[in-house]
Every structure is written in C-alpha cells, then in structure tokens.
Amino acid sequence: MGLAAVERVEVIALSSLKDELLSELQEAGILELETVEPELGLEPVSGPEVSLEPLLFRFRQAIKYLSLWKKSGLQEKLFKPKPTINREERQAILKQDWDSLLKAVEEVELKYREIGAELKGLEKEKALLLPWQPLTVPLSELKPTATVEVFLIRLNRSRLPELSSLLSEWPLWFSPVSQDKKNAYLFLLAWKPALDEIEEKWKELGVSFFYLPESLLKKMPPADKVQDLMAHLEQEIIAKKQYLLSLEAESRRLTEWLPQLTSAYDVLANEQERINAYNRLAQTEKTVFLRGWIKSADLEPLKKRLDPLSSSLEIRHRPPVAGEEPPVVLKNPAVLQPFQIITQLYGFPRPGGIDPTLPLAPFFFLFVGLCVSEAGYGLLVALLSLFFWLKVKPKGSTLLFSQLMLFLGVSTIILGTLVGGWFGFPVRQLLIIDPLTQPVTFLLLALALGFIQVWFGTLIKAISCFQKKETIPVGLTQTGWLVLLPSIVLYGLKKIQIFGFISLLGAGLVILFASPKRNPIARFLGGLYGLYDISKYLGDVLSYSRLLALGLSTSVIAMVVNTLCQTALNIPIVGWVVTPIIFLGGHLFNLAISFLGGFVHSMRLQFVEFFTKFYESGGKPLRPLALQGKYVDFQ
C-alpha cells in the first residue's frame, strides 16, 4: 500500500547504440525520460530527420472518412476486444509503403466531396429556375429594343395590386409567369425613357430582378427555353447522383482496410513518439547519455533488457535527493487497484505523501452501495462489468474501471438486500432497516458512517503529523479533536458526566495547540477560535445525510415504476404489452441515474469531506516512454 519507491536512472552508452536503446526502452515501457539539462554542457542529440506527422495527419483523415462508412453496431463498439500487435507485425508496418492506400482513400474522399458540392450547386440552380419554367420564350430572345427594356422580376404577392395600379400611370406592361406561396414571378416590359422614375417606384415595392447566372448561361444553347435547361440540369443531377452512389460503394469497399489503417496509425504514432524522444538525450563525441525516473522494482527488468545491447553500457541509479520532484507511482494490492481511479481523479499524492486509496476504498464501496441500494441493479451492473472484463479483456484504466464497477455492483447487491430491495420489492426477512418506514434510523446510520470517516481522516492526519518533529503541535491539535468529537457526541446522547470531562480534555488540547502564536494570550484566544472548527466537523458529518436521500430516491422510484406497472397491467390486452416496457425502461432509467448519482456523490464525500482532513495532492504521475495504442494493444 502507498507509494512505490522511484529512483533516478542514468544510462551512458556508445552513440551507435542510441536507436536500439530507445527502441528497447519504448518496448519495456518502464522509464520516464527527462530532458537532459543544458547545464551539463553536453551536445544535444539530433534524431532521424524524418517527421511522421504529415503522414499521421493523412492517416487520421483517412480513418475519419472511412469510419463514416463503417457500419458498426453498439455491440461491436463496446464489446470487441482490441487487436494485439507483436514486434514483427510492427516492423512490417513500419516498412510497408502506405502511400498508395492512403492516396486511394484520399481520392475517393476528394471526389465524394467535390461531386457532393456540385450536386448541391445543381439543385440550387434548379430551384432558381423553377418559377420561370412556364416561360415559353427562349431566354436569349428576351433582349431590350431601342425603346423597351425587358425584365424578369420577383415580387411579394401582396404587392401585386400596387404594381397593377402603376400600369395606368406609367408606360409599363407585365404578364405573370408563375406564383408560389410568397412571391409572384413576372415578365415585365418598360419604356426606356421613363425607366429612372419607374425604378424609384419599384424600390418601394421591393422588386428583385432575375438574371440567369453566368454558369447557366454557358451551359445553354441560344434557342433553349427554361424548361429545356431544367431538363438538362435534371439529367446532370441524375448522372452525378449515380456517380456519387458508385463513390459511396467504393468508400464502403475501402472500409475493409480500416483495421490495417488503424493499426498502422498506432504503430506510426508510437514511432513518432520514439523519434521525439531523441530530443531528450544528450551526447558527447562517442557516447550518448540519458536520464529519467523509474520504479525501483523495475530496475532489474531494465538491466536485463539493456545489458545484452553492449558490454560497455553503464546504468547508474540513486534515490531522489532533496529538491528533486520525482514522479509518483501508486502501489497497491490488486484488490485495491480499481479504487486508485478515485485517487487519480482527484490528483496524485505529493512525492513522499500519503496514498489515500486504502483509506477511501471501504468507504467508497459502502457509500455507493447505500446510495444505489437496489440489489437488482447491483446484479445487473456486476454481471455486465464481469462480462466486459472477461469477454473484452480490456487493459489499463479500462480494466480497472470495469473491476471498480464490479465491486460497486457487488456492494449494491449486499446493501440493496439489507436496506433496499430487488427491483423495488424488498426482501423483508433480510431487511435490517426499511428506509421508507424508518428513515430516521437510516439517517442516523448515514451520519454515524460519516462521523467514522471524518474521525478516521483526522486520525490519519494526526499520525502523519507525529512522524515529523515540526508538525507535532498540529498532531496534538488533531488528537484533541480525536478525543473531543466522540466524547462530546456520547455526552450529548447519554449525558454521562465522564464523557463531558473527556471532551473538555480534548477541547483543552485544541485550545493549547491550535494557534502557532507564542504570546500566551494571543495563543489562548487563537485556540478558542480554533474550537470554532467544530462547526466544520458538524457540517461535514451532516453532509453524509445524502446517503439516505439518494438511497431513498432509488427505492421510491423503483416503487413508482412497479406501481405504474400494476396500473398498466389492469388495462386489458394492451397492458400485457405495455407493462414489460414500463418495467424494463423504468428500471433501466432508475439504474442509470442512481448509479450516476451514487458514484458522483460518493466521490464527492471522499474529495470534500474526507480528503480535506489529511490528503495533499500535487504529485505528477510517472509517464514512461511506452508503446500505447488507441486502436490496438502492443505485445
């Protein structure tokens, strides 16, 4: 339990070995490289000149495009294990030329987007022409004469009477071509000399003019009518659509390469990581030098891996010295590792600090169970995570998370049976508290658990303070609280005088040591003020009442679902169909929100009420140079 020992490692080798050295280190995945400081006066190392970034970019684009065409069900997404890649396959991928495959995908993608855009343009042109379809005169013949100007105009239908009224005053003539819901489309002739004044009027009416777009003009033989042009467009649209379909088929066909592309992407991305690592090394004329951090337990494997490379390779290691900030590695037995997730979410402990995983694990286990308190839901979650764990064989944090969910499922089964029920039906023989009829008892249980956790947190703080001479006064203050809190509660409950005296003793300790001041009066007053912290402890413990509220809400909603089912069952025939749907849907919904609530609130109790008593975060995790895949696992 706690933190694993971390040591500083330095490796010196012949320059010629640097490629192999980095490959070995990356495969081992145990050493975090640190950039060698310029103060050492060593030369920087220049890695291979190539950068894979442009290639990786192309891979990302190709994978993204092909994923659009890959129809994968939810089952495949969630439950398909990642493929594994070994060393030989990795080498093969690195040697392979991916250009032609990427080009094929890129071409299809480009064409697909191009044709798609063209199709959109054609549809737009068609929509633009639609109102003018009834026009039987070829557009090329609509030319102004010496005295008459020709227009095609669009006007809001409601303004049409106003335009008609202009006819009597002005030298105008128009004929409607078509109408839609909002606008009228008109063919209009006007006498040129009066045009300026007429245009004034048009502006008021909100007239807009139609001109054939340049692109369409080009397509159009002079004798064509609008409907000919539209037919022509229609043909083009059909042809493009067919082409688009063939491109879609081609894209779908190309998705069979997706697994190769994703594996290659992972391999190349890791190769780029390795290339980046060259910048962290330093060199002299003949040797290369690297330094980093490693778990002490991994030193032997490191030596085993590097020694065969050369007899002239030197590995040195030492524990971190004062002033250095080594990375942090949590070290817990397998059963506790899933709970490390909670610790990591809050932040890693400082080097040399306390790992809160062990203290928080039993409480977190218990609290989620109490918050959900539905054994049926627990069973579902446990089975699902067990299935995921065994079937998909996840690795790393996903594995830990599925194990955590398994734990929480089990906890919910136990506590659900004791204080809740199975899908809304309590098993009376096994019930120790029925939260619906005895909420006060449940509340006291929740507060008692809270009191224990808060007290336990204070205890951890006190113990850690006594380990260093300068923090002993803080430790004594904590001891004061450790004595004061339980005794004052007992005194309040039982009114036995001895507990009253003990609590005064604790308060005395707090008054004496809470303030760091030397002046006795200031110290006494500061100590008195320190006693005010009791309100914080009170608030913290009361905060655990949420365990009751969340537990109750799950039970009540489960009950509501069952009541609805009963009501639905009374409906003839339809009831038989609807009832299972309500039952399943209702309980799944309740499962989802109660697990979300239970998880988040239990976590909050750890972070806000428990961690504040003793935990200091701020460490950075060890990030070794390693092979890490987004789509594949490396052997």
Partner: protein
C-alpha cells in the same frame, strides 16, 4: 374538493413542478453548451451526456416527493384519505424544501455544468472534476429532499 386535500395536492404539484422547472432549465443550459461543443467534436457525446444529465436529478427528487404525498393520500389506490385543513397545510409546507431548493439549485447546477462542458472541451481528461463541482451545488437539493422526506414521514393522517 375539501380544502385540506386541495392544499395537499398543491404541495405535491408544486414539488414536481418547481423542481421540474429548475431541472428543465438546468438541463437546457447544459444541453446547449454540449451541442456547441459537439458541433466541433461529435465524439464527446458520451462524456458530455453525464454533465447534461446531472441537473436533471432535482426534477426527479421533486417527482418522488410528489409521489410520496400521493402514496400518503392514497390517490393511486382510489380510496383517498381524509385530510383536514391543518394536515393539508402540513403536507404543503413539507413539500416546499424540495420544491424551492430544487428549483434554484437545478438552474445554478445547470450553469456550473455548462461551464464544465466548456472545460471538458479543452481538457478532455478532466471529465470528473466538473461532475464534482456540479455535485457541490446539488447538495442543497439533496438536503431539501431529505427534509421533505423527514417532514412527510412525520405527518400523521
């Protein structure tokens, strides 16, 4: 309808309605933010869903408090209990903590979650921190629910 029963119904209705309004606003705020983020990065749907759903709990608390009142009155069974005016007022007042704390806290939790969603957009790995911040706001709705349940439990019909 008798006055007492009317007051009791008002209590149940206000618990479900006010807390529901709060949640609707809160989830709405978070949902808008999430849609904005997803327009850039559609793959975040899964991780944002939790943050959007979080301000929804107040509505459920209100709903379940209302349901407790309904059960107490025996409305679903068809045989409605006799409620005098005093008991009616008691039931109405008992519903207020969850209704009002739910209404206000859900709106503010929605704002916190919306900001959290913007945070996840930039720091995808810090998924849980905004969840915890949201849960800090929710505390007061949970406490309101608790008091409502305890009060309802204490009312004798």
């Amino acid at each position: 309808m008798e006055m007492g029963l009317a007051l009791a119904f008002l209590g149940a209705a206000s618990a479900a309605t006010l807390a529901g309004i709060g949640s609707a606003i809160g989830v709405g705020l978070a949902g808008q933010a999430a849609s904005g983020v997803m327009s850039e990065d559609p793959e975040k749907f899964g991780s944002l869903l939790l943050l959007v759903a979080l301000p929804g709990t107040q509505g459920i608390y209100g709903f379940l408090s209302a349901f407790l009142v309904i059960l107490k009155l025996g409305v679903t069974g068809g045989k409605i209990a006799q409620v005098n005016v005093h008991q009616g007022w008691q039931l109405l007042i008992a519903c207020l903590p969850v209704a009002l704390a739910g209404l206000i806290s859900a709106i503010h939790q929605g704002k916190v979650c919306a900001s959290g969603i913007y945070m996840v957009a930039k720091q995808p790995k810090d998924m849980t921190k905004p969840l915890i911040l949201g849960a800090l706001v929710e505390t007061y709705a949970v406490l309101g629910l608790l008091i409502t349940i305890l009060l309802l439990n204490g009312i004798k019909l």
